[in-house]
């Protein structure tokens, strides 16, 4: 699949869409498909500090709880309130459902993340499609 080119990806199946010194974060289409029906999204509060590689919340399917890992370090400026009442939006459009928006602590961290092509390759090698 062709992953959106306006963002970067992680091996934990998150995407980050930078916009100057801010960015939006969500999970990939591969992630939502693997999870199945998403029933619950637990996000941090505005003002929370995120650290690269550390868990910042959870997404729950009917059967399982999965941690959300932050691709980069930063501070939460906005959370997507829609997901509290309609978590299934992530299944319908994972790439269009941002979960948190942050200000970036260190934009250089973006460089070490996966490009769309690299993420696509990673997913294929993992056994996905």
């Amino acid at each position: 699949m062709a992953y959106p080119t306006d963002r970067k990806y992680t091996k934990e199946h998150e995407w980050i869409q930078p916009n100057g010194n801010t960015a939006a974060i969500g999970i990939t289409d591969h992630a939502q498909e693997s999870l199945g029906d998403i029933v619950f999204v637990d996000l941090p509060k505005v003002g929370a500090e995120l650290a690269a590689g550390k868990s910042f919340g959870t997404v729950e399917s009917v059967k399982a709880v999965s941690d959300l890992y932050s691709p980069v370090s930063g501070t939460v400026t906005e959370i997507n309130g829609e997901l509290a009442t309609s978590p299934e939006k992530v299944n319908k459009d994972a790439h269009g459902s941002w979960m948190v928006k942050i200000t970036l602590k260190d934009p250089k961290e973006l460089a070490s993340l996966l490009s769309p092509a690299d993420y696509d390759k990673f997913v294929e090698e993992e056994g996905g499609h």
Binding site: A31, S34, G36, D37
Partner: protein, 387 residues
């Protein structure tokens, strides 16, 4: 994201497969190792499936499950009834030919070997359907504890592909494929008839979904199994039939308040704690576990199984602790999940009897925080009575 799993391309030889394994994989099912069996947990969204859709299809139309991983034990002979009465806590002498009942096999301590459906197939012939994970254990237990009776005990688990057809439209679906008059088969009764051209097939009006439904036992060869599976899917098309996996099987039985071995019942839990009193006939003079149960009844239970409904935002899951207001552990969740039909987050849990009255608030510890729930009646869901 953690725990995002891809379906394994192949499974190690030690995991068992049902005769329908290739069919599930060909339909694109997500597979999981369930007690040593490679089973479908859910089918793809692309064909209208996924746990929630599968669950809703069973509640409103019809769904089909491969439950061949379950085990089958046949007891036949002059003293078959005596043998069953000795190992099973319910009263099998009440069964007419063609009738079935829910029961359990107990250890001498009054705890569970397994739960079971006992079917009386003939004058001196009983058919026990048991859990997948306990096939060998149960068969050995039954054989070892019935040696004193003039009765043959056979393990027929590998002989059958077992397919469950469940939901309000299950009758209409299956009737298209059988010459048996299903209207004459009451709930928890069985019959035999031709199914998809196969003669003398056992058809039981039983299930694990809290809906009307049937379980059929057909020859276990792959070609026959696949043919029948596909014919049922075809017959149910007009009712919106979907294939259903273990994910929906679990959410359906949970809404119905039905126990799962290893969760609500186990070898360390007794009948009174599990609140299965009504299936335990203490008026029977003798059965394995009776003495211990008598003693346990006199002593009273220290924990009891209750239904919980989440009040605040959060999902209680298997193994989560129940804590008091100071964070001390007072119990635990045996099974917990979102309930797709009820649109609530529900759970079964063991808590002290003092907290068991309906409406009592309890706290479920979710990722370190106590989240409020309350005790509610079970079953959480009861299917509507036909008018």
């Amino acid at each position: 994201m953690s725990s995002v799993e891809a379906s394994p391309a192949s499974t190690p030889a030690v995991v068992r497969q049902t005769a329908l394994n290739a069919v599930h994989r060909q339909m694109g099912a997500k597979m999981v190792d369930f007690n040593g069996w490679d089973m479908p947990v859910e089918y793809p969204a692309a064909i209208g499936c996924g746990i929630i859709n599968e669950h809703m299809a069973v509640r409103t139309g019809v769904g089909i499950f491969d439950v061949s991983h379950m085990g089958d034990i046949r007891l036949a002979g002059r003293q078959a009834l005596d043998a069953v009465q000795h190992i099973s806590m319910n009263d099998a002498s009440k069964l007419a030919i063609g009738q079935a009942q829910y029961s359990a096999l107990l250890y001498p301590q009054g705890t569970f070997v397994d739960d079971v459906i006992v079917h009386r197939l003939d004058e001196d012939e009983y058919f026990l359907v048991i859990n997948a994970g306990t096939r060998e254990k149960d068969f050995n237990w039954v054989r070892d504890n019935t040696r004193q009776f003039d009765c043959a005990v056979e393990n027929l688990s590998d002989d059958f592909t077992q397919i469950a057809i469940q939901g309000p439209k299950s009758v209409d679906t299956l009737q298209k494929l059988t010459d048996a008059d299903l209207r004459k088969v009451k709930f928890y009764w069985v019959t035999r008839g031709s199914v998809c051209g196969l003669k003398n097939i056992l058809i039981a009006r039983t299930g694990y979904t809290a809906e009307d439904g049937f379980e059929i036992y057909i020859p276990a060869d792959e070609a026959t199994s696949a043919r029948v599976w596909n014919e049922i899917l075809n017959a149910g098309k007009e009712f919106g039939i979907v294939p259903c996996g273990l994910g929906a099987r679990n959410t359906l039985r949970l809404e119905g308040g039905l126990s799962l071995y290893g969760h609500e019942i186990s070898d360390t839990i007794n009948v009174w704690e599990a609140r299965l009193d009504r299936f335990c006939k203490m008026e029977k003079p003798e059965f394995v576990g009776r003495l211990a149960l008598e003693k346990a009844k006199a002593e009273g239970v220290k924990r009891t199984l209750v239904g919980l409904e989440m009040v605040d935002r959060g999902i209680a899951r298997d193994g989560y602790k129940i804590v008091d207001d100071s964070g001390g552990e007072v119990g635990y969740v045996t099974s917990g999940s979102p309930a797709p039909f009820l649109k609530k987050n529900i759970a079964l849990a063991y808590i002290p009897p003092a907290l068991a009255p309906l409406g009592t608030p309890v706290n479920v510890e979710i990722r370190g925080q106590g989240v409020r729930a309350q005790v509610v009646p079970t079953p959480f869901y009861k299917r509507p009575k036909k008018s």
